[in-house]
């Protein structure tokens, strides 16, 4: 179980995250939603160990894969990029990489230089690198942000399949109601660095308790799922 206690992150005078407690069970998928600047990415970066919290602690983070919002492609081919995070012999790495690239619609670009990919393709490559080996914890920061409709669907389907096939814990931030409803066991709505709502998708997205969460959810078309 992942346990974050009394997390606080400040930059100078400004507090960007203040979370008293957050527990995520093994194999659970938690989707974090909220407006820009609500602290979603900061929380993910702290969980990933990319930044240190100003205060508080995180326990139980092991065997993680993290896909940041801005994906970086190494100066190699798409296949070589993916092979970097694969394990086993060279042949095995190649097989595993081609398999995940195929699933994410990138197999035709396998021999192309990854630096020449579009933003959406780079994001899919980053997801491929994260999913090429099974992991215990998968952190995804807006994985469909730069993707077009088709690519977003492909990513969402891949993630949903991955969740079903593995016992991996997933924590994902998104602005997409479809992604939130499709994968989440629980949804956390954040506002100004704090928890606004936490519960099952049905509870939180269809019948939020607070007035702010109600107005935030109001803009979402939840039935498109």
């Amino acid at each position: 179980m992942i346990k974050a206690l009394n997390l606080k992150k400040t930059y100078g005078e400004k507090t960007v995250l203040e979370l008293d407690e957050l527990c995520v069970s093994d194999g659970e998928a938690l989707v974090i939603v909220g407006p820009n600047g609500s602290g979603k990415s900061t929380l993910l970066k702290i969980l990933a160990g990319v930044i240190e919290p100003t205060q508080g602690s995180v326990e139980g983070v092991e065997g993680l894969r993290y896909v940041p919002q801005q994906s970086y492609a190494f100066k190699r081919t798409v296949l070589e990029n993916c092979m970097l995070s694969a394990e086993g012999s060279r042949k095995e790495k190649q097989r595993k990489s081609l398999e995940i690239l195929e699933r994410l619609g990138l197999s035709e670009l396998a021999d192309k230089k990854a630096t020449g990919l579009s933003g959406g393709e780079k994001q899919r490559l980053a997801i491929a690198r994260a999913l090429v080996e099974p992991c215990r914890l998968l952190l995804l920061d807006e994985p469909t942000a730069s993707a077009d409709v088709e690519a977003a669907e492909l990513i969402e389907d891949t993630l949903a399949q991955y969740k079903k096939a593995t016992s991996c814990t997933i924590i994902m931030t998104t602005h997409s109601p479809k992604a939130a409803m499709g994968i989440a066991d629980r949804v956390l709505i954040m506002n100004k660095g704090r928890r606004a709502e936490l519960g099952t998708p049905e509870q939180v997205l269809r019948a939020p308790e607070s007035a702010w969460a109600k107005s935030f959810i109001a803009g979402w078309s939840l039935d498109e799922n």
Binding site: R65, Y66, P68, F74, L84, S85, A130
Partner: protein, 229 residues
Amino acid sequence: MDKFAEAFGYLFSLDRELVQIIGVTLKMSFFSTLISCLLGFPMGAAIAAKKFKGRRTAKRILSTLTGLPPVVAGLIVYMLFTRYGPFGSLNVLFTVKAMVIAQVILITPIVASLSSAVIEGNCRTIRETAIGMGLDGKKTFALYLTENRTALFSVLLTAFGRSIAEVGAVSIVGGNIQWKTRVMTTAIMLETNKGNFSFALALGIILLIIALIINIGASLISGEEPCDD
């Protein structure tokens, strides 16, 4: 014009001494560049990407050492390796080895400082991506270097250029001994003092040709392109 003609005469006749001087120069420059880069690249990467106590001080010391006068570096090596110095028993003074040591002292801070500036540009992104891929520290460190290989190659060429053009330190610790430690720069200095301008000019021309080859190599490898569309 006569001097130029004589200089080219030296070049085309492949004068034995000239060839030997070029050989010593290239050997010294090659090894000093190689050692400086082997030390300087990891040092630069560590300063750019690692958080450690005294990082800022290390950066300042490095910046200061980039301006180390060659004669001071030569003097330090001389004092260390002179017969009664702490490493006198090694008998390396007035050999190419001593010249390489002096060059390494001079060039390593330059290599470390420049490579640190290069790696600083993208080390955060690389680190974040590597964490996300579950890569260990060693692999992440290797990525800092491989992802910046083009810029680091330019640093290597700068180091080689600095090494081949150095005169102060190598003349102190090498002694400019004929057939042994005489390099192009010290030979140019000596021949100019002797009034043998054509031989000095021939060496100068070779030095320029080597510099030109280095620059062409650098632009070919870095894929330099004009800015205008």
